[in-house]
């Protein structure tokens, strides 16, 4: 039996009927069309599917869409505000924090979670904070540099690490 859920993703509210076994990552990608959230390992290991739900980074491959009912979510598509890249996106750009880019959305969302809890992390703290995200290209040092770059920008601009995208009208498909 399908269940009705209402979620707010990147400021937009959506209502859908979903099958209980639908995983959140498939809801985001296939129902909402937000394909920036990637499916890597599908076993809670790689972190490519990381999103922010009610202010907390979670792996959307290990949640049911019905569990997300009533929550506020942020995906990589919601990081940039008013056409301006979020400081974590700038950081990855400036510090060459990616090669193939597959892990990058999850890395960035795990990074903003880290920066929300610890605005001025050490290299070790960054590596610990990104423990749940795997990158198979860069060897991580450039990712660490990217997060430090973002930490500086966020401090300079006195911005919250986790943005609150502007509310848009409700959409149903």
């Amino acid at each position: 039996m399908a269940h009705a859920i209402t979620v707010t993703v990147n400021g937009s509210t959506h209502r859908h009927e979903v099958e209980p076994r639908l995983l959140l990552v498939y809801y985001l990608r296939e129902v909402l069309g937000l394909t920036g959230t990637h499916i890597g390992c599908d076993t809670t290991s790689c972190g490519a599917c990381t999103i922010i739900m009610n202010g907390q980074a979670v792996k959307s491959c290990t949640l049911l869409a019905v569990q997300a009912d009533g929550t506020q979510m942020l995906t990589v598509e919601g990081l940039a505000q008013n056409g301006a890249l979020h400081p974590i996106q700038e950081g990855f750009w400036e510090e060459h924090g990616l090669q193939c880019g597959f892990c990058t959305p999850g890395m960035m969302l795990a990074a903003v979670q880290l920066l929300a809890r610890n605005p001025n992390p050490t290299d070790d703290e960054i590596r610990h904070g990104l423990d749940g995200n795997l990158c198979r290209c860069t060897g991580y040092q450039h990712i660490v540099n990217s997060v430090k770059h973002a930490a500086r920008t966020l401090a300079d601009q006195r911005m919250p690490a986790i943005p609150t995208p502007r509310a848009a009208g409700a959409k149903t498909r």
Binding site: D42, S45, T62, Q67, A110, L114, N133
Partner: protein, 287 residues
């Protein structure tokens, strides 16, 4: 990987969840979902009914109640890890929570879910045993308290009855000159404990061991307290040689787990090494 179809039921209270369990005795309980959903995706389990406890906010708390820290079953690992109450009163539990999985897993997984799932390689059971915690289970018959030492009964098995829900974990605050440590040999891919040892050591005025409680996870089908290690430590000097001799008994009488990563012999060796290190680290903090 997609779970097999199931009926989803969301409980808004413990009472409602217990009613659902009574009418649907085959239902599985869902808390944070970080044990159950991976197993459902692999179709190791395919429940026909899932009762979601995740919205019972009354179970999502941590508080101090006199000389006891009480964690609601839905307290996430992150809540446990970051709680000032836990860090101040029972730092071993916060230290253990911080070593579970990764940040995202700790944001979603819950202490009650982890304990009720009783994975043989889970981290909490070692600390729960060493802290001599009490599990509070609720059923239509009322509430009862299960001591940690009686809770873990075997592989993925606990003393919880099929109509009971684990609602609280009560952790006595250690008294006296007590130190604690949780040391873990993490599987490099999964992060689960190949071996994890929690130690709570109380020292007397002479610096000798007044009390020792040790919890070992990852080694046997269920976490356990190595009785002979504890007995040998009590009253002993807490030096390298004495602790090492006691730790030799860490895997004694245990049907030691074996897998592709670690043979039984290797795991038993790690149990002895990590028991020695955890006891020495705890003793150091007790002084």
């Amino acid at each position: 990987m997609i779970p097999a179809p199931f009926e989803y039921h969301r409980a808004s209270s413990v009472t409602e969840a217990l009613q659902l369990l009574t009418t649907l005795p085959e239902a599985k309980l869902l808390a944070g979902g970080h044990s159950l959903l991976p197993m459902m995706k692999l179709r190791l389990v395919s429940p026909t009914h899932v009762v979601d406890l995740g919205r019972i906010e009354a179970l999502r708390f941590i508080r101090r109640d006199g000389q006891v820290v009480v964690a609601g079953a839905l307290a996430t690992h992150w809540m446990v890890e970051s709680s000032d109450v836990v860090r101040g009163a029972v730092p071993l539990l916060a230290e253990t929570a911080a070593k579970i999985g990764d940040v995202q897993v700790r944001n979603a997984g819950t202490i009650g879910g982890s304990l009720a799932h009783a994975d043989p390689a889970a981290d909490y059971p070692a600390a729960i045993l060493a802290l001599d915690a009490q599990m509070v289970a609720q059923s239509p018959r009322g509430r009862r308290t299960i001591p940690a030492g009686e809770f873990f009964t075997g592989l993925f098995s606990t003393a919880l009855a099929s109509d009971e829900i684990l609602v609280e974990v009560r952790i006595p605050v250690p008294s006296g000159a007590t130190g604690s440590a949780y040391l873990k040999f993490a599987h490099p891919a999964s992060g689960f404990a190949v071996v994890g040892v929690a130690a709570v050591i109380t020292v007397d005025a002479q610096g000798r061991c007044a009390d020792a409680r040790v919890g070992v996870t990852g080694v046997g089908p269920a976490a356990y307290r190595p009785a002979r290690v504890e007995a040998q430590l009590k009253g002993a000097a807490l030096d390298d040689k004495t602790v090492g001799a006691a730790a030799e008994h860490a895997a004694e009488g245990v049907n030691v787990n074996e897998d592709l990563f670690a043979s039984a012999e290797y795991r038993a060796h790690l149990a002895r090494v990590f028991t020695k290190r955890a006891v020495l680290a705890a003793a150091q903090k007790a002084r």
